[in-house]
């Protein structure tokens, strides 16, 4: 049964390799095929989440004993990440059925989407540092291509910028892996945690490696000094891909990979924690301030992504149980409501042909489903109770105050207020403003797009209502595996 975890990578890869051959012979049917693949994966990840097998489970590739060979780890944190990835991919794939009719050659798009999914699942599962790097590159390269999918002038420019900065990030990560490998002579993360030099004289080395990783993964996660690619890349991609990029890619290959290394290999030391907190606070504030002046819908959302990632990093970097749980909860919530907002932006663009806020207006009556879903998402991201965004922000702020970080706590509250204002602007300009006749009568988006948006909106409400069971059964165990630190990985070496 446990062999099923390889399907998270093998199935999307299989689909990705099969699609070019299918593309030769068939003209249609790709939608159904991809829908079945993502449906299977979402049920598999849901099954792993609800009825967890004996955790933590270590999968040994090719039957090689532990310090050798490639190992995968399925524990409460990675199963949570797998669920987030497959959930958002499912809704993005459903949305693509109608949305991607604007573009030619659908199978190429699906092929890249499946490669992206395989890479993300691989990063979430892998417990071998070089294997993490490989999956990270698969994800990055697929997303470079997907950002340029429209092949217009803006798309190619954004993709090129993303590619250059992404390659710089990969170079930093690879250098970090090389230094860590030179010091510990192993690539297995469990063995690495054991062989990591301890004591006062190793602090400089650790900080050097941590700096390399924070630069590299910070670039991938678009933390503030490294964020310049994101406001170009995320709006240029097709809407479902923007949802994937903002919803899961920056979190999995940025935040998740970073916290795995920082917590489980290094055992988070105070200096790194302070550094990450500062970066998180900075992204939180700068992202939202930059978002105020934006009039392009998707670009505004992209700046808010930077700001919300700041919350996630702030919560997790705090290192207290409540902070980590809150950070992970915000990671889940942000991926749900930000994907939903990007999908809304996509259907507004699909219907009206523009995403300039100043040109839009009065869509509340013409596009009722887009309107109510985007209302739910906007209130969620602004942190209005009882929707999901409120609880995670609340937990993070409480955790910050409990740890006597009054400055960051107040900053989080301030940023929340500015976010609320920013999204009220969005709601007013797109949906509620009365516009005298400059927009023609627009139609509501096609049925699959509406279904996908409605699904995510219902999820926003449900997570908000049932936040307590989710917190107790999913997030607290997930944060336990980070809190276990280095010792947790060393015990896994014995399995």
């Amino acid at each position: 049964m446990m062999n099923a975890i390889i399907l998270f990578v093998a199935l999307p890869l299989f689909a990705a390799f099969l699609l070019p051959i299918m593309g030769k012979f068939f003209k249609r049917g790709f939608d159904t095929f991809i829908f079945l693949v993502v449906l299977f994966l979402i049920f598999l990840s849901l099954y792993m989440l609800i009825k967890p097998p004996a955790m933590p489970y270590v999968y040994k590739m090719g039957g090689w004993p532990l310090p050798f060979g490639i190992t995968w780890l399925l524990d409460s944190l990675s199963v949570f990440m797998l669920f987030v990835v497959n959930l958002i991919t499912f809704f993005a794939a459903v949305y693509s059925i109608d949305y991607m009719k604007q573009y030619t050659c659908k199978w190429k798009y699906y092929c890249l989407l499946m490669l992206l999914l395989a890479g993300l699942n691989g990063v979430a599962l892998s417990a071998d540092l070089f294997n993490v790097f490989i999956f990270l590159e698969i994800t990055s390269i697929a997303s470079y291509a997907l950002v340029a999918y429209g092949t217009g002038r803006e798309e190619t420019e954004a993709s090129f910028k993303y590619m250059v900065l992404g390659s710089v990030a990969s170079a930093f990560i690879l250098l970090g892996i090389a230094v860590i490998y030179a010091k510990t002579s192993t690539l297995n993360m469990f063995d690495m945690a054991r062989a990591m030099p301890q004591g006062a004289d190793s602090l400089k080395l650790k900080l050097f490696i941590a700096t390399l990783f924070i630069t590299g993964f910070g670039l991938k996660a678009a933390l503030v000094p490294f964020h310049s690619w994101l406001p170009d890349a995320h709006p240029s991609a097709p809407a479902p891909i923007s949802a994937m990029l903002s919803g899961v890619v920056i979190k999995v290959i940025g935040v998740y990979a970073l916290i795995r290394i920082m917590f489980n290999i290094f055992s988070l030391n105070p200096v790194i924690s302070e550094l990450l907190l500062a970066l998180g606070g900075l992204s939180m504030f700068v992202g939202v301030v930059l978002a105020i002046g934006q009039w392009d819908f998707k670009r505004l959302l992209a700046y808010h992504s930077i700001s919300q990632i700041g919350y996630v990093v702030c919560g997790i970097a705090l290192g207290t149980p409540l902070g980590i749980a809150g950070g992970l909860f915000h990671l889940l919530n942000h991926s749900v409501f930000k994907s939903l907002l990007f999908l809304n932006a996509g259907s507004v663009e699909y219907a009206c042909g523009t995403r300039e806020l100043k040109k839009l207006g009065n869509l509340k009556e013409d596009m009722p489903h887009t309107s109510w879903t985007s209302m739910v998402a906007s209130l969620s991201i602004a942190g209005v109770p009882p929707l999901c965004g409120f609880w995670s922000k609340f937990i993070i702020i409480v955790a910050l105050f409990q740890a006597n970080r009054f400055f960051y706590g107040s900053l989080a509250i301030l940023v929340g207020l500015i976010t609320l204002g920013s999204f009220l602007k969005v709601q007013r300009y797109i949906f509620y403003r009365k516009l005298s006749g400059s927009l023609l009568k627009v139609k509501e988006a096609p049925v699959f797009m509406c279904l996908s948006m409605a699904g995510l909106a219902i999820l926003c409400v449900l997570i908000g209502i049932f936040f307590k069971p989710i917190l107790d059964n999913v997030l607290i165990p997930a944060s336990q595996s980070l809190l276990g630190g280095r010792e947790y990985f060393i015990t896994l070496l014995g399995i």
């Binding site: 299989f14 699609l19 999968y59 039957g63």
Partner: protein
């Protein structure tokens, strides 16, 4: 005359087969000598690129059909994945189901590793050559306009 000069064409005609053969040798001996699927695949792709550079694109298109490239790539990937999946019959992903130990200097040892090398070579060769073909086909949209104006 398309392509390069007569000297280059004549030399290419003699060497291209040898380069291809060397690539295949590197692939098949991947598990016992330095090299392997990736290195061999690159050499195989280089032999085709060599042909294309010397004779021009039109001549090369006659001997290497585009379909072969676009099939080779996914088939190589599928083959590699299937070998890994067949390993499940032995209990785990990537299980080496043919032989448990390799023998030095013998090509038919090492179980699935030569098969993996062949799959990788197929993917790398067609992928790399595909990239080259695409780059040679690629024209900026500005070029077309100038062409039309000339007409």
């Amino acid at each position: 005359m398309k392509g390069m000069s007569l000297i280059v064409k004549r030399i290419t005609r003699y060497t291209v087969g040898l380069i291809l053969l060397f690539g295949i040798y590197i692939v098949l001996h991947g598990h016992i000598t330095p090299g392997g699927g990736f290195a061999g695949g690159v050499i195989i792709a280089l032999s085709f690129i060599h042909l294309m550079l010397a004779f021009g694109r039109e001549e090369a298109d006659k001997s290497i059909k585009e379909n072969i490239i676009s099939f080779g790539e996914p088939v190589g990937g599928l083959m590699f994945l299937s070998i890994a999946l067949i390993g499940l019959a032995g209990g785990v992903f990537f299980f080496n189901f043919f032989a448990s130990k390799g023998e030095p200097f013998s090509i038919l040892s090492a179980g699935i590793i030569p098969l993996c090398n062949i799959a990788i070579a197929l993917k790398v060769a067609s992928g790399l050559f595909g990239v080259f073909v695409v780059l040679s086909l690629f024209r900026l949209s500005g070029d077309k306009k100038t062409d039309e104006i000339k007409k």
